[in-house]
């Protein structure tokens, strides 16, 4: 695995998996290593982390090193549009430039864009479930999938469209297909399709900020029937039947894009890398290793990639449609989330740490979705208070205002009762509600009061299956103990976020993709 840029919030462990991915926006103050001749600093979609062996080959062929920094597509487009890539990146390589095209201020930063490979959105269904449903994979349409979800016979996981390109492409595929739109989606199509889409998204039992964690959570849960993602990602799973719905898909074509802010020598390097990527030998390597499809006619797709044709669903042609779709997904269509924030406000948080926590939480209130239930559970020697707020679609401001007010009132005092507080968080959440539930644990120290780690392990083991499905996302901060927090994440199926490398705001922000 290639070295990761400093400031990335990704934990090292995730990089080990083939599907590893990260959506963390690089920090504002981060200084990615300065430009170096023969090295291209590339802002890349997280899905491209499986290209390492291909890039090594390209380096051999061209002498040019590609150094990727992984990021979510929407964040990357934002960085381009606001000039944050100028002088810091030499090229941009996203799963698709479809969204970028909707932002003229971002598109004008791009000089050339050359598709390198392709992969369509698909659904991977456990083979046993395919059999139960009596499906012939080549005949399956989005309507059939919808019907199975409606009948309660199919559940699935997908990545968060706001943070991951695979999630966004999936959302567009589903919305185009179920709206019955005959050409590019319009605002009216989205409105018309809302009731059907809402039904469809009831079947979504897993959400994730990255494909890598989604894969792990899917394996761990065992009760989710399917995953929606790019064909190339799904083909990496055993026991999944990968289906490209007959009535259409959205395809990612991975254009390597050179930037207007770079000099001609850099763009020449980008061109040479592009050319190398499109040589027959490398195209063969790409399709064999990553199970994406080649873009040259002389190289056939890897064995197992069905070559039957599919309709390409047009990507929305305007930003208002794309953003509108995203907005309705977050606030209206998806199942709402319920989250308990277990917040360390022990004596050691006094001063700068507490004010950073307050500012991070306050910043987060701009991101909470309609219908979301947020519980603040500050703790010291024990849980200090339990305050629950719901963002009411009719009046979102009052809920958010209440969260800000409670945040402002936090004070630092007492010891650090991590496990006792976590147990109470599980108690608070209960079970049986149709939501995405999770617990965020922010602590700046080790456990010094109340239940011990072994007590919590036993407590967790005693929970029923439903409750055990609630993951804890611990945030490493201040003097907290990595091993202790990693254990909590592993035990509950969560993921550790590091706010010591990055920032507390960044960690809270990134966890949003998992809620």
């Amino acid at each position: 695995m290639r070295r990761r840029a400093p400031g990335s919030l990704l934990v090292a462990a995730a990089a080990a998996t083939l599907l590893a991915a990260c959506t963390a926006a690089p920090e504002e103050d981060e200084d990615p290593d300065a430009a170096a001749p023969g090295t291209l600093r590339v802002l890349a979609s997280s899905e491209l982390s499986d290209m390492t062996p291909v890039l090594e080959r390209v380096e051999k062929d061209t002498g040019v090193t590609v150094r990727p920094t992984y990021i979510g597509t929407l964040d990357a487009v934002d960085m381009l549009a606001t000039g944050k890539t100028d002088g810091r990146y030499d090229a941009v390589w996203l799963s698709s430039n479809d969204y970028l095209r909707l932002r003229p201020d971002a598109e004008k930063k791009v000089v050339s864009q050359t598709p390198v490979m392709s992969s369509p959105v698909a659904i991977g269904v456990r083979s046993a479930v395919v059999e139960e449903l009596g499906w012939k994979p080549e005949e399956v349409t989005w309507s059939r999938i919808e019907q199975a979800v409606r009948d309660g016979r199919l559940t699935y996981g997908m990545t968060d469209p706001a943070r991951s390109n695979s999630g966004f492409s999936t959302l567009v595929s589903v919305a185009s297909a179920l709206s019955g739109a005959q050409s590019a989606l319009t605002d009216a199509d989205v409105t018309k399709a809302a009731p059907r889409l809402k039904e469809f998204f009831k079947g979504q039992k897993l959400t994730s900020g990255s494909s890598g964690w989604l894969a792990g959570a899917y394996n761990r849960r065992g009760d989710v029937d399917a995953l929606l993602n790019y064909e190339s990602v799904l083909k990496g799973f055993e026991g999944l039947t990968v289906i490209r719905p007959k009535d259409g898909v959205v395809t990612a074509d991975y254009p390597l894009s050179s930037l207007a802010s770079t000099d001609a020598a850099t763009r020449e390097d980008v061109r040479r890398v592009t050319e190398a990527l499109r040589s027959d030998a490398v195209q063969r390597l790409i399709t064999d290793r990553t199970l994406r499809r080649p873009v040259v006619a002389s190289v056939p797709p890897a064995a197992g990639l069905d070559t039957g044709r599919r309709r390409e669903l047009p990507f929305p042609g305007s930003r208002s449609v794309a953003d509108g779709l995203l907005d309705s997904y977050e606030n209206e269509l998806r199942r709402p989330s319920r989250t308990v924030y277990v917040l360390d406000t022990s004596g050691s948080m006094e001063g700068g740490r507490l004010s950073r926590l307050k500012s991070a939480l306050t910043g987060l209130t701009g991101d909470f979705r309609d219908r979301e239930e947020v519980t603040l559970m500050p703790f010291g020697s024990d849980v200090k208070s339990v305050r629950t707020h719901v963002v009411d679609p009719a009046d979102p401001r009052s809920g958010l205002e209440a969260i800000r007010k409670d945040t402002e009132a936090l004070t630092a005092e007492g010891d650090t009762a991590i496990y006792t507080s976590l147990e109470k968080a599980y108690g608070h959440l209960g079970a049986g509600r149709d939501t995405f539930t999770s617990i965020v644990l922010m602590t700046d120290g080790e456990n010094t009061a109340g239940a011990e780690a072994e007590d919590f392990d036993a407590f967790y083991a005693g929970l029923d299956r439903d409750r055990r499905a609630t993951p804890v996302f611990p945030i490493l901060f201040g003097d907290s103990d990595r091993a202790e927090l990693e254990h909590i994440a592993d035990l509950t199926g969560g993921r550790l976020f590091d706010a010591r490398q990055g920032s507390l705001d960044g960690a809270f922000e990134e966890i949003r993709g998992y809620q």
Partner: protein, 362 residues
């Protein structure tokens, strides 16, 4: 001479810096000055200039080229300082660039290529079965533009066409995918051809004519959703099996593909009965750029290579016809029967593109 070319070629593959050093040493030995020409070109010509035989032929005449691709209309926004020439895919953007950079004199147009529509056999057969096209050979046909525009006007879907049910991928609105007309030449020329046909064979010139044709053009573009900015990208998507069933590309791209892969399976090339040729036009910015432009048009070897890449050299139809003789199932040797739509002025074309994309409309 051949030896020198070989050396230059080999070191080019190693890297620019080394190349300069070795070429320099080589020059001392032979006295031949190598001129490095930096240029920005339309993406459809990238493969031509990357072809080792082209590199060799240019080197034989003392040229090393460094090419960078850009949408033809997007070249207006580039800082061309340090470049020797710009090579957009048609005359209109070239004329604007020439004015902007105060380039005087006639602009060389070494070769041209008509816009064609590529389809798979299934889609082509369905179009033919419904009076929207005729098939003239196994892999070649004619698209009836008036009938197509009429279908587009009425939002015809593939499902409404006889015989489409046999092909799962043929559903949704019937439309041709083009590039973004505001940044890319082929997308703009598509609008030129469509507006000419819709106007009953009259080129759009007045405000009233723009007004009249705008709704149709808006429709042709809006059904497509997000558009690519280069013909290379849309063609790549087509080749990889993704994308819309009908895609507007340059004939040269198809010819280049056939050169790599003579049996392109069920690919069908539909020549619109009214189309627009893209006159690849050079805007020389320096003396070296001018020299190279002249060479492209006059050097027999470079003309031969241009033909191999599917371009039709100006002035002599026989060269292309001879080369196309073994691929006539896909390509027309001569463009007889294909009507050339005149292209509106750059200002009108810009306005048509702006209205079609619906800037500020959404």
């Amino acid at each position: 001479m051949r030896r020198i070319a070989g050396i230059v070629l080999a070191v080019l593959l190693i890297g620019g810096v080394v190349a300069a050093v070795v070429a320099g040493r080589d020059n001392e030995e032979t006295g031949t000055a190598t001129k490095t020409v930096r240029m920005v070109i339309g993406s459809e010509k990238a493969e031509f200039f990357a072809d080792p035989d082209v590199v060799k032929a240019l080197a034989a005449k003392g040229y090393t080229v460094e090419a960078e691709t850009s949408g033809s209309w997007a070249m207006e926004g580039l800082d061309l300082k340090g470049y020797d020439l710009a090579f957009p895919s048609s005359r209109a953007p070239a004329t604007e660039l020439a004015a902007r950079h105060e380039v005087r004199g006639a602009l060389p147009r070494p070769f041209y290529s008509p816009l064609v529509v590529v389809a798979r056999r299934g889609a082509a057969t369905v179009l033919a079965g419904n009076g929207l096209a005729t098939l003239d050979a196994k892999n070649r046909g004619t698209l009836k533009m008036a009938a197509y525009l009429d279908a587009a006007e009425r939002d015809r879907t593939w499902q409404q066409l006889k015989g489409a049910g046999r092909y799962g991928e043929l559903s949704g609105t019937l439309f041709i995918s083009s590039t973004d007309p505001e940044s890319s030449n082929s997308g703009a020329l598509y609008l030129a051809a469509a507006s000419y046909v819709a106007g009953g064979g009259k080129v759009v010139a007045s405000d009233a004519e723009v007004e009249r044709t705008a709704p149709l053009l808006r429709k042709l573009v809006s059904v497509q959703g997000a558009q690519q900015t280069g013909t290379d990208a849309v063609f790549r998507d087509f080749v990889s099996g993704a994308g819309n069933p009908l895609v507007l590309v340059y004939e040269s791209q198809v010819a280049a593909l056939l050169d790599e892969q003579p049996d392109a399976e069920d690919l069908v090339v539909l020549y619109p009965d009214t189309t627009v040729n893209s006159d690849h036009t050079v805007v020389p910015l320096t003396e070296n750029g001018k020299g190279l432009a002249e060479l492209l048009g006059s050097d027999p070897e470079l003309r031969r290579l241009a033909v191999r890449h599917g371009f039709r050299p100006q002035g002599d139809a026989a060269e292309f016809a001879a080369a196309a003789s073994d691929r006539t199932t896909y390509l027309k040797q001569r463009l007889t029967g294909v009507r050339q739509a005149p292209v509106p002025t750059a200002a009108v074309l810009h306005e048509l593109a702006r209205r079609a994309v619906g800037q500020g409309g959404q």
